[in-house]
Symmetry: D2
Subunit: 308 residues, 4 copies
């Protein structure tokens, strides 16, 4: 990607990086999606070399100042994803939570996400409003048929190129491996392109067991937030399609902002931290201020230049 013209680039070149997300998901090598939650985190992940983004519901909610319980409206989320797409140019898989209501809400959200530049949506088999998977125990799962209807409605509305990922919370909710498999098969039949199997164990055993039984009927995605110690070699061996690093930009930002706030209060000075934070020039580079300077030379008459 040519970072020198990333913003604002001709609309045509921004449209539909969806094939790219599908290609990544289907490629023989393991794919990594990096969490981002706003324009700048997306630009940073793109500049670092990630090939795709995970628009995390938890991170986006937190950035806005809401809890991961569908406090933010669906249009809030769509608006954030638009800025992520524009600022990064990367394919984005959006954490669509439970679809923001029934099949009708889900298909409207999916259409709008596609319009704003997202490449896919992931829906999980719980009700609305959702609660973060790591909060509380045994959250009730959605009825299989009803959830399959949500998937089909999205499938029929967005067309075949938009990636539809079905996430089952069966294991998170302490159901059996069989329940997870039954659900995955139903969701495949309803039109899902991939299955995200979630777990909150600190080891990947149940994930790998699922993967073995599932036998790649559709690509498998995982979120190793809790079983973070597992080497990715194991996922490659298990033919997992995609690993989502689901909240690490946000957690890094929180940690850094806390430290800086604490130090500034304690030291009553920014002299000590100056060398540890990004420079303004780095920021200007990340946001491509150079393009704006070039454009001013091109489009502004000399007399109208605001800043020589």
């Amino acid at each position: 990607m040519d970072r020198t013209v990333y913003m604002p680039k001709p609309v045509g070149t921004l449209e539909d990086p969806t094939t790219t997300l599908r290609d990544l998901m289907l490629s023989s090598d393991l794919t990594f999606l990096m969490e981002a939650h706003d324009g700048i985190s997306s630009a940073i992940a793109a500049q670092a070399g990630f090939k795709g983004l995970w628009a995390s519901g938890l991170s986006i909610s937190s950035a806005i100042g809401y809890r991961d319980a569908n406090e933010a409206s669906w249009t809030d989320v769509v608006g954030v994803v638009e800025r992520m797409a524009d600022a990064s140019g990367l394919p984005i898989l959006v954490d669509g939570d439970t679809g923001f209501g029934n099949f009708n809400n889900a298909r409207i959200v999916a259409r709008k996400l596609k319009q704003r530049g997202a490449s896919g949506i992931c829906l999980e088999d719980k009700g609305f409003p959702k609660m973060n998977s790591f909060v509380g125990d045994r959250q009730p799962l959605a009825d299989i048929d009803e959830f399959s209807g949500r998937l089909s409605a999205v499938r029929d509305t967005t067309g075949p190129d938009f990636v539809l990922v079905a996430r089952t919370e069966a294991l998170i909710a302490d159901h059996s491996l069989d329940e997870a498999l039954v659900r995955a098969h139903a969701y495949a039949k309803a039109g899902a392109d991939a299955i995200l199997i979630h777990s909150r164990k600190s080891v990947p055993d149940e994930i790998l067991a699922f993967s073995k039984e599932w036998n790649n009927k559709l690509p498998v995605m995982i979120v190793p937030t809790k079983y973070y110690r597992t080497p990715v070699a194991e996922y490659r061996a298990a033919a997992i399609s995609t690993v989502i690093w689901a909240n690490h930009n946000m957690r890094a930002a929180i940690s850094a902002m806390r430290q800086v706030c604490d130090r500034i209060i304690q030291e009553e000075s920014i002299a000590g931290i100056e060398g540890e934070v990004a420079t303004l020039d780095e920021l200007f580079d990340l946001m491509n201020y150079g393009e704006l300077a070039v454009a001013e030379d091109k489009y502004l008459p000399q007399a109208a230049h605001g800043h020589e």
Copy 2:
């Protein structure tokens, strides 16, 4: 501030922390405002102990994925400030850039900022669209009378309790100290509550010279981004009212996210960074998930509980 009930708290207790901002600005001790740019950075600054926030135009633009040249719309900015107010409960001085147009745009923006929970607005004496003060040289200043009209319109629209800060870019644009003083006096007459004198020198000489001549006709605010080495004792000695740490949460976050992205790509693992980023529990605490659990016990019938 009682962090255990910060969200969602009764609306009544959120309204008008404007007296607090005015009190801070007028207090005999030096006041510090910390930059924030979204809900989570605001919550972090509040938890760290800052008494007030600076809603930076540069940081907010960057977070959204825009450049600091009024690419984001005024409603985009108002929306972000609303989330900052709700997530922090702190008084917020908003970087209103040049007012987003003429006097009429400025007064509409100010009214809306007040409605959403901001305690004050800072307007700078340049035109629309603005360009960041640290980009390019000798940006043209606004006509004094026209800019004074913008200030008066805001003053008349928002009422006396909303804090109106006039920022002069005279020194930034290489004008004389006299020009800065002439402007400051005009802006005071137009209804400003405080003067923000900006400089991009690496030493505070011109700021201190201004302060001496100005003699505290109105409180003085400064932004020591470039002259960061100066000890705050000098500002106390000069009877400066308020120091704005203008972009350090954003710069800390950028730096941290870059490092984490680079490491994850290099290490193909999150195991190495797990100990260096905030935990999910820290995030849940920051966003007050505890309040939601308590509220569920109170307002949800047992059978409807989503997650025991």
Copy 3:
């Protein structure tokens, strides 16, 4: 209300017309709330002399181009209500549908509506997403305890001055008068300020029967869309508090726009309709362009005037 300064007026005078809505609702005479769905319809209703507005979910959805099935997000609705409040200065009772989710969503929506200038919210005892009451038969009602939790959460969050109306769809869903009464009593206990009893019969018999049994334990509101022939004298006799004309601005606008579109297509000319549509001067007057001209004289230096 002084229409000559209605926009943009000092924020102070706009805040909290909530007492007015409560006063209207509690007054001994019958109160009428007129449907509006955007800025201009609200300004028109205010200019015509209505004392309060009904922000109809059906009308607002339609204006935006959505169906009355919670297709619009809650922030979409809050944004429209804000413009209605600003353009009219009137107290507004907002059709909050079923609360946009559970108790937590309901209280967030209510807080935001209050912040944007609404005076009250009406919640109905169905689930999310809702479907318009006049579409289909026997829509399922919410569990009484769960819905009461939604009401209590709003009550506790918005404070006592914000008006909370509980709307029961019991009769609409073909339940008995007893069921409606049981629900009304439960909702009163949960903190409602008034009961809206809805019916889709073409005569008001069941409404009047409810009213008689209820005996004004709390004020009663009605929506005579289907039983439109009943003279209001009957409601006065029954001590009904408030009549909501729920969609008539929207239906009038639709009818007029259809006729104008048809005629322009048929006549290939606007000459024929010129005398039947509002003049531009009427529009300028309605939106108070006079205030802007006065403000330009006051705040713009002579040289900067855009249009003498």
Copy 4:
């Protein structure tokens, strides 16, 4: 257009009706664009048979409750246009006012309008903030080079299929026909696809004089709001490309809502107006509730149906 599936239809069929707008503009017959300002007015115009829409700045501002002086933000306008496109499926030429700032703002707005489904933008040669052309006298025109830069920037950003209309206010501002022609030639060179020549005379003389001299170097668009008596045969004879009926849906709606409000207040009843306003069934049909019923049968399990 198949109205039975207009919403929500597969995204693919919604994208880029831009060729249609270009085809209409270039066709040998006179094209008519009908003003619309929200979802429902757009759906009505589509159902009546119009082939394209004019998203009027005046009407949209008024609907939102703002004045036509760039009080609404550019994102407000983009949001409205999105709903118009979704609700109508028609090509839309958007009144982009003066571009919401400089060349950079103009190109961002144009990109976003294209993304949301608009087919073209019209920019006028004045500054920001603009004032409605029919308010005040001799509004200052933009510098030709600077405005040409705005046009080129939009041209380069949106790609060749998005229609770019340059509107000159030369005649409105009492400049000569020569000035109008000089500007039109400059704007053509800068990349405009068509010229909109505006006049506030009650006869079309100066428009026709322009058209004769211009000799169709590019298609000509006109807005006969003030010279409404002229038969369209004269425009056909002059080989005008497109006639914009610029505010007649809004003016029809205002007139109808005023009458209905006045009558309801006077009659304390809706019985008298019931036969004169659209029925709810008409509204449900216009918004395609039938599609939702069909979709519920398809995607909702029987048990989950909300309303049989």
